[in-house]
Structure formats: C-alpha cells, structure tokens
Symmetry: C2
Subunit: 370 residues, 2 copies
Amino acid sequence: MSEVHAARRSRLRARRAPAGAEAALVSRSANVRYLAGPAPAGAVLLVGHSGADVLFAHWNPAGDPAGPRPAGDDGLRSVALGTDADPAVTAAAQAARDGAAALSVEEHHLTVARHRAVAAAVPDLVLNDLDRAVERQRLVKDEDEIAALRSAAEITDRALGELLESILVGRTERHLALELERRLVDHGADGPAFPTSVATGSHSGLAGHRPTDRRVEEGDFLTVCLGARFRGYRCQIGRTFVIGTSPADWQIELYEVVFAAQRAAREALAPGAEYRSVDRAARDVLDAAGHGKSLGPVTGHGVGLEIGEDPQLAPTAMGRLGPCVPVTVEPGVHLPGRGGVRIDDTLVVRSPADGGPELLTITTKELLAL
Amino acid sequence: MSEVHAARRSRLRARRAPAGAEAALVSRSANVRYLAGPAPAGAVLLVGHSGADVLFAHWNPAGDPAGPRPAGDDGLRSVALGTDADPAVTAAAQAARDGAAALSVEEHHLTVARHRAVAAAVPDLVLNDLDRAVERQRLVKDEDEIAALRSAAEITDRALGELLESILVGRTERHLALELERRLVDHGADGPAFPTSVATGSHSGLAGHRPTDRRVEEGDFLTVCLGARFRGYRCQIGRTFVIGTSPADWQIELYEVVFAAQRAAREALAPGAEYRSVDRAARDVLDAAGHGKSLGPVTGHGVGLEIGEDPQLAPTAMGRLGPCVPVTVEPGVHLPGRGGVRIDDTLVVRSPADGGPELLTITTKELLAL
C-alpha cells in the first residue's frame, strides 16, 4: 500500500507545483489517511515541496505497531511528538527548515486558534489555503479503494440478510440497531460506517432516525439504514420492509413511488451526468406523485473514507460525475404520523461501455413482507 | 430544565458584560448543549448582549420533536435554517441586527474558513475571542449534572458486573466490547461515553486500546475501560482482572503497585489541591516501584458533556481543584510483551466536611480472578 500513498502525495505535489517551493500541511484526518495510510488520531502530514514527506503524531507510548519510523522506500518519515506539542505547529517549523517559501494549510479544517499558533511559529512563511485539494483528489477512486468499498458492501448485505431471517416483531429499534452493528463486526467490518438507523412504524422513512425503544409491530413499515467500514472505507444501504403478511394499499403505493424515484436516479448515473440532474431524476418522480415536499435536500452523496463526501446530489449542486466515483442514491418519503419509505444504495459510476453503474449493495429492493 | 439553561446563559452574559454590547456566538457542540439543551448537530447559539438568545440549526425536515419554536419563558428562540446556510453566519448577522458592537466567537472551534465567512457577513462587527469562557463555566458542575453522572456510573457498574458473571475465556476483545456496549444501552444509557476498550494478555494495561480479535486466555490480565452516556453526561471506569484461579507473582505485584498509585491520587482529591499534585501522588508511587516511565502523560481528567474535559491531572497542569468538579483517576502501567494494569474511577471532588471525594464508579477494585 505504501506505493499507493506515495503516488497520491506525488499527485498532490504536482498540482501545487506552479506555486513554487510550497509545502502542504494536511491536518484533516481522512485526508491524512488517504495520503499516508492509517495514523494515530490528530496526526498531521507535511507534504514537502521537494518530496521529503513527514508524518507528525502522538503515538501511544506503549508502542503502537504502526509507530514512528525512518523514511522508507516511499519517502515518508514519521516523527513522534511530546504530549504538549501541536503536530501542526511542529510540521510548519519543519517546512521552514526544509526551505519552503510558502505553506498551504487546510483552512476549512484548522481552527482560528491553531492557524494563529502555526503562523506565530513560522513568521517567514507565507500561509496559503490548500483549498480542499485533497478532497478533490479523493473524489475519483482507484481500484484499491473500490475493492475496499465492495468488501464493505458485501459485509453490509450479509449483516442485513441475517437480520431478515430472524423474528422482528416485539423487538426495539435500539436492539435491532445494536444487533446489526454486531453482525457487521462479526463479518469483518472495522466497525459501522455511521450510526445504524432503525425506524419502525411512524418513524419509518425518516432520514438519520436515531433508534428508540419503540418496538416493531404487525403492520409497520420498518426502515433500516446501515453500512460497514472496511479498511477505512464506508458504504451505505437502506431498505424498507413491511411487517406482517399483507401490506396496506397506501404502503404498496408509497413503496412503488419511492422505488421508481430511486431507480430513476440510479439510471441517471453516468460519466458526464450533472449532479443535479441525477437529483432531478428522483425528485421529478416524487413531485409527480405529490411527495416532492417530503423529500430531503439531498438524494445522494459520495462515499469513501468518509460517509458524506463530495459530490452532493442536490438541486443546486454544480458539477458532473466522472467514472469511478462511488455515490449513494437514497430518496425517501416520510408521512408524519404514518411512516414512510427510504431505499438507499451505494453504486460506482461506470460508463455504459463498462456495463453502466456498478451496484455494490445487492440486497433485494422488492417490498418484502417479514 | 430550561430555567437551568437560561441561568447558565445569564452567567455567561454577566462574565462578558464588561466588554459592553458584546454578543457571544457559541458553536462548539458540547457548549451549545450546556447553554441551550439538546440541539441538532451543527447548531449554533447566539447569546445576545441584551438577553435575547437564539438557537440556529438545521432541523430534520420531517419534524424533529425538539424542533424550532418561538421564545419561551427562558428567553430562547429557535430558528430553522435552509440547507445551504451556515448557522454561524446567520447568527452573526442576527447579532448585528440586534445592535451588538462586538461579537465573541470560539476561535478554538471555528475554522479559518468559517471565521472568514462570519467576518465577511458582518463587516461592522468587531470579532473577539470567547476564549473558552463556556468551557471554564462548565468545569464546576451543578447538582443536576452530578446526578446525571451518578446515573451514568450506576449503569456502567451494572453492565460491567453482568459481564463478570459470564464466561470470558475464549471470547475476543471485540465481542466483549460489543457486549458491554449493548449492556450499557440495555440499562438505559444513551450510548457509550467513548469507544469501549477491552485488552487481554499482552494488550492489557494499554490506554485506549482498540479491541482486536485476540481471545481471552487462561493466565491473562484483562483490562476493560468503558462508560455510559446518560442525558449527555459521560463517566469512565477501568478495571483489570486476572483470568484463571491463580495469578502469577508479577501480576499480583504489579496490581498492588497500580492500586496504591490510584488510591494515592484519589486521596489527594480535595478542594484547593493542585492538579499536578494529584498527578504527582500517583506518579510518586509508580516511580518508587520503577514503573514511572510506563505511566502516560496524564493520570486523570475532567468528565461531563465530554469525556476529556478540563482539568487535566498532569505534571505541568496549572490550577487547583474546586468542589463539585468530577474527574477520573486512571493510572496504568503496561509492560511490553507481558501486559499490564489500569484502574480508572470517576469521582466528584468534595470537601472533607462533605465526606471527601465522592466515588461514582463503585465496582470493586480487589484483584478478581475470573
């Protein structure tokens, strides 16, 4: 893996090269992981202008297995800091010693107080904004990253599949969520990609619903939304089921509308498609059915080392999809007091020549009566 | 509860009053919760100079039960924002409209990019630093807060007690951690206060060890560290057990030393005691036994709405304990390749007249052989 990270750092350096002898100070944790691999919390990466990259961190004193090390083949050196040292300040001082004329920092991540401490430590360095360069680089995934997402999705499908074979009536949202998270770990996840949501009855269809002590009852809609984190990569699946043998007419109708909206957005995924046109595809179906207003502001988003990455699939989002961009497609409708439906998938954008969008979360989207 | 929050905001206002018509923009989530009660993620609180306080947030469109509302008896109004609006920018604009001359912001929390957006939105307002005023106010807890911590500790003791009654040999750290977290929730916790740590064999005694697939074996030290979150308040307990009927001599000796160090620090807790003298009390015992070097940089810390609050009990920490300050006391020693011992308690500082330090986590600290 270390060659992968070195290549990513080279690409970042190449992008910043026109700025001259400019080093980059990367502090946002997912960005550090992307460029340097797993690192302790709070680690900061200095991407030097000349190729000498250094990771600064507080390692566990008792000997983290991935502890500090001299520079390897990949040109990355690690330095362990004392408790009181801010890795960002130490990294900036290193950039000055290495002869950088300017230092780009992540102004969307560093606080005002830390930025001031960095500036005070290196008065001769010009501080610029890295301007989300690493986030932009993370948007399109390489095949290693997509493989990790695929494994995360497999684990997630398996955990969900097992739950569907168990008795659900009478159990609380909270317990079902805990059981799903346990099964994710059982099947090899590092942990859940985000807090598992289980919503039954009048809660069903709510985005990001936090599980309560409400019990699953006969006749309920049951919405679950979960995902595994595997080698740092996070996927998402959402499904809605009906409890009992015979769904009510309103349930069948609502399910069909949300399913049609979700399918329309999935089918709109293609290299070159505008973010907002994918959103529009789902929104048009729900608008036509009179449910446009209960749709949230976003119908999907990128996934990767974080669960809510760029791009956003939303009415005002600017930009176009590229190949190898993984996104969720997750429209939902909630009818206050009654419940609702959400259907979420994680897919990778692929060209029609490559078979079109690659569906990672393959659990059936038929309306199952459990 | 709303009177409690209103009184807290009045105290903050009173502290800032010498600064004139200065409003405060509180963005750090635990600080917002402390001053306004539970609020959606990302909510920002404007504490007006004249007593008109407003909470700005993105509420769940499907009708969060604690959704936006007009000002109640407590003088707090809530405003729901559109997706694209930054609550900090909207709050600053409100302060300007309310006639504030200056606005204090949390420079240790706002990023450089957000601070710039706030400044651009209110060019006529002087922006100052709130300088951790809310964190300082949160240091000493009121009896409501201590009652929440007490409940959190009761839940934690119960979850741990149940685990001790089960068979441990052969189970993995990861599974034991998940089971403890499930039991916390079973007994009424909102969730774990921090990621549960279970460390067995050569991992035992490591601070913040992340559970692995290592299984508990006969003869192991087993260290668990967990805590419940209850009404937002977080406590911490850590215990080390020995697996099997007969601990080895080195295990008994190491346990006794860490226990003595932990007791010394607990006994040093009193109103007026220096933070560093509490740390010193534990460190001296371990130094004398030749284990001083394997002690981490901190032997305890405040707890409350966050798990690692002020004060820090560390060699260079400046300040003195006051009554009603809850802290952890958590020395640990890890011997590489062999394992080690941690013993963590949560206590509330009380004067000798009030019976001395109040121990919240009451699970026995005898060396149990399980």
